[in-house]
Amino acid sequence: MSDFLSQYSIQRWLEACPQGYLDGTVYGYLPGQSEPEELLADEGMREQAISTTVQLVAGERAALAASSGLVNCAPDDASKLFLATQTLDEARHVEIFCQRLYDLGVKKEDLESTVARYANPNLVKFAEVLLAKVAAGDFIAGVVGQNIVLEGMAFSVFEMMEAGARQLNPKFAHTLTGTIADERRHVGFGENRIGSLIKQHPEKREEIEKMQEEMAYYMLAAFNDVFSNSPPPAAPSDAPEAEWHGVNLTAATPAQMEELLATTVIGEFKTRLNRIGLEYRQPKVPA
């Protein structure tokens, strides 16, 4: 088989992504799709949807800053090209989730104040840990933080949200389907590129594992905030069942949702880190 780095080309990205699964979409969804009327008419549900979408915007802005920053510290052209495509993917994600805020009734002039009001402080700290590595020009730590920790979390969160939205909100589910497809490439690059680099730089393990511990702490704290401190409203009693990893999302309590997400994401972290030669570090339990 040929060198894996040779797969990372703009041409392949064009064929798979804009000419492939995004073909015919508008801001990630199909023309004619819209947010459900029941959601727009219920102030509590609408505010919850805005709050959730703001977390996605905040996460994607961090991913955009990280992937664009990593282009210049990548050690080879193939990685630079891949990260350039990832930069555009992340920019698209920022745009489509901002568009969802507008679709939910947020005025364009209120975008920044809305993001500032709802963005979870622990999610912001999670991003700051990653962006400090990128700002320092640390390619290996930056890719682990971005493509394994951040993208690994996003992958599970998006999958769970897509499963929950499939029947209730096909427009949002379609938007998420495209982002999940993008995340597959991003986690693949993270593992494939770092799997070989970490073998060449074993001295980086301690520092990277410490970064992962810090990021996992803030991630779990953010989950705790979202599900325990300001739980989403219960789904309507006639809502269709939505299952993810064997759990009925429609009937699950906020505590069960938090547990499900935390165990799924942490389980994935452990597996992914082990595969590339790193050990998962359990953070102290968030307050």
Partner: protein, 100 residues
């Protein structure tokens, strides 16, 4: 046969003829059209895999082959661009190990 097509499955060890499978496009839109039949979405822990299928451990897509898979076969996951080798897991089922 293109380079990519040869990367979908490369023969590993194994005795005897392999069962063959006709693959159909089952709606996996994340790769260009000519490759779609080789992949499908995984439906979660209750989703039973056929003898010609294995899950990509990185991106959780099901990789499908035109032939029954055996340990030692090398498979390629186009959605996450990863190469892997088929192994038999502790529970006896086929799994894929990523080749870095």
């Amino acid at each position: 046969m293109s380079e990519l097509e040869t990367m979908i499955v490369v023969d590993g060890a194994g005795d005897g003829p392999r069962q063959r499978y006709e693959l159909e496009d089952v709606g996996f839109r994340e790769v260009p059209k000519q490759w779609r039949k080789f992949y499908r979405h995984w439906r979660g822990p209750g989703d039973a895999l056929a003898p010609n299928e294995v899950i990509c451990p990185i991106c959780k897509v099901v990789i499908r082959s035109t032939r029954e898979l055996r340990p030692g076969d090398k498979v390629y996951c186009m959605p996450c661009m990863s190469r892997m080798v088929v192994v038999r897991g502790a529970d006896g089922r086929l799994e894929a190990d990523v080749i870095f």
